[in-house]
Symmetry: C2
């Protein structure tokens, strides 16, 4: 029902700014991370046009907004700047006020909490509390899950880059791969989700720790990557680390890169239980999704691959 | 328009299971993390009743669903289990198919991507691509932001727990606090968002590194916590580390805890530029929101505190 631009660049490719950026305001009574995460995903749908490709967007996150006065100030400012508003407000009155004020002042708005909350409410037959996460009296119970997540993060930090191989048996997940396949950021991403992760580098001329072959092989995952992409990444890494051109040579030279990936491929072939995950062109969270899908499938052996949780 | 239960426990408190758990299916053509994050936030609205408080919920995440066959299988299974469906599907045809199939088979459903995408589309005047994140041809450019986020994570790991004080000047954010105020998980959370973080412990009888007082004080944040809560956390920590009862004594004894917090308070008083952040009862992401709000306010000195980004 809306007419869109094609989003294509204008004839004059030399224009520095083709359009003035559009503003998106995000407001939450909590941290704002839910709004930010959702807006980020939605903006993925406009990648063909963002930044210097014809349109650009500025987002502005306002967190901890739990009173109507500050809320109204923000909406007024949004109206002035021609911004749209995307909000998560647990309090029914506040959410309603945001909606009405936006209508009144001509600010396009989207409530991204209420639709899910209402759908869940009617599904489980319980009414929502309407209390924002920081509401007085709402104590966050420092439950088991909280402590085990922190433990996972601390464990994962200590196990980075092949450290403490004697502890590999304690890990939930062990990642194996050559340098710059993203083992460290992937380990940390998974740790944040509560998994104890260890990562073990494959380096030409260095033996893998023996313990790697004594632990449960079902929890080991190999990472692989396209050699050309890996070389590009290693070059940028070598530059940022200020490697001498000698070291840079061995580390990011194509011949060396291919040989090291060849070694990795042979190790994986000798250990066919380890799934081999292609990371080329994947964002860290995408590789994490693949790892966890496989991890949970192995545990459940169920027909329809899924990750289940109890609340 | 929906009649809800009060969600209160039944008379018989000994019942192990008061109600059968309600099922929530989450489906994404991508990682599923957006759906999981949003559902998690929404479930916060039912905390008064979840788990053993009268109702319980099982979530099931199906990621990487980008064909109609698997989608229909999942929806059929949802219908069988009496589950509801929450989905993010970038492809218009797939999203529409999900909606129709859910109507047909009586599965309550909520599309959480389309409303935001459509609102943004009409705001910026550009049509969405309809391409899921993993679509062939959609190459993730290993841009500057990607590398700088990974660098932030690697930096932060190396700076954990007061390591390498000579590098404090390279950090964007420096966290100071006594043991078990959540410095490590908070540092990692911020690192994932692209900030280089160092954390420095305050330990009775140990001097703070001199470099801490030579770097820009505007980037230093002190953490503080209620002594009773800290003692509880330390006790559980000491137990999980298997501390001898002697060490446990000094570490988690109330007298020791209070003294150490007193030292921290005096250090903060001597450095009034450092904001002091109360972490008691806050989840890591909540403390992160407070830190980043202050961090960006200091930089912008603007009237309306916000975190802005360009896309
Ligand atoms: N544990 C929780 N309890 C209650 N409400 C929550 C919880 N987590 C998130 N929310 C609400 O969900 C929305 C998104 O949260 P946030 O991601 O912190 O901005 C806000 O309206 C919060 O108040
Ligand atoms: N960078 C991106 N480009 C295109 N679509 C995206 C991007 N990131 C997320 N999405 C879409 O947003 C929804 C949520 O993504 P996810 O959190 O990976 O499940 C899915 O439908 C994805 O296809
Ligand atoms: Mg590494
Ligand atoms: Mg620590």
């Amino acid at each position: 029902s809306v007419a869109y631009n094609s989003g294509e660049r204008s004839e004059n490719e030399d224009d520095v700014e083709i359009t003035t950026p559009k503003e998106i305001y995000m407001v939450s009574d909590g941290t704002g991370w839910t709004a930010e995460h959702s807006v980020n995903a939605a903006l993925g749908q406009f990648e063909h046009c963002l930044i210097d490709r014809g349109c650009s967007v500025n987002t502005h996150l306002f967190s901890g907004i739990d009173d109507v006065e500050r809320l109204m100030e923000i909406i007024k400012q949004a109206a002035k700047e021609g911004a749209m508003l995307i909000y998560t407000l647990a309090d029914f009155y506040l959410a309603e006020s945001a909606k009405k004020a936006c209508e009144l002042w001509g600010v396009p708005s989207t409530d991204i909490l209420s639709p899910i909350t209402e759908a869940i409410a009617s599904h489980i037959g319980v009414s929502p509390s309407g209390l924002p996460r920081g509401a007085p009296g709402r104590k966050i119970p420092l439950g088991e899950e909280y402590f085990s997540r922190i433990e996972a993060i601390e464990f994962t930090i200590k196990q980075d880059d092949g450290a403490l191989p004697q502890n590999l048996y304690k890990a939930d997940i062990v990642l194996v791969g050559v340098s710059r396949t993203g083992k460290t950021p992937l380990s940390i991403y998974l740790a944040q989700k509560g998994y104890k992760v260890a990562n073990v580098p494959i380096v030409m001329g260095v033996d893998l720790p023996k313990t790697l072959f004594h632990i449960d092989p079902e929890k080991i995952f190999g990472l692989t990557i396209n050699p050309v992409v890996l070389q590009t990444i290693r070059r940028s890494r070598a530059k940022s680390l200020g490697f001498s051109s000698d070291m840079k040579g061995t580390y990011s030279e194509m011949d060396h890169v291919r040989k090291e990936l060849g070694i990795a491929a042979r190790i994986y072939a000798h250990n066919p239980v380890w799934p081999v995950i292609e990371v080329t062109g994947k964002a860290i969270e995408e590789t994490a999704a693949v790892v966890l899908r496989l991890y949970h499938d192995k545990k459940q052996k169920c027909l329809m691959p899924r990750i289940s949780k109890r609340y």
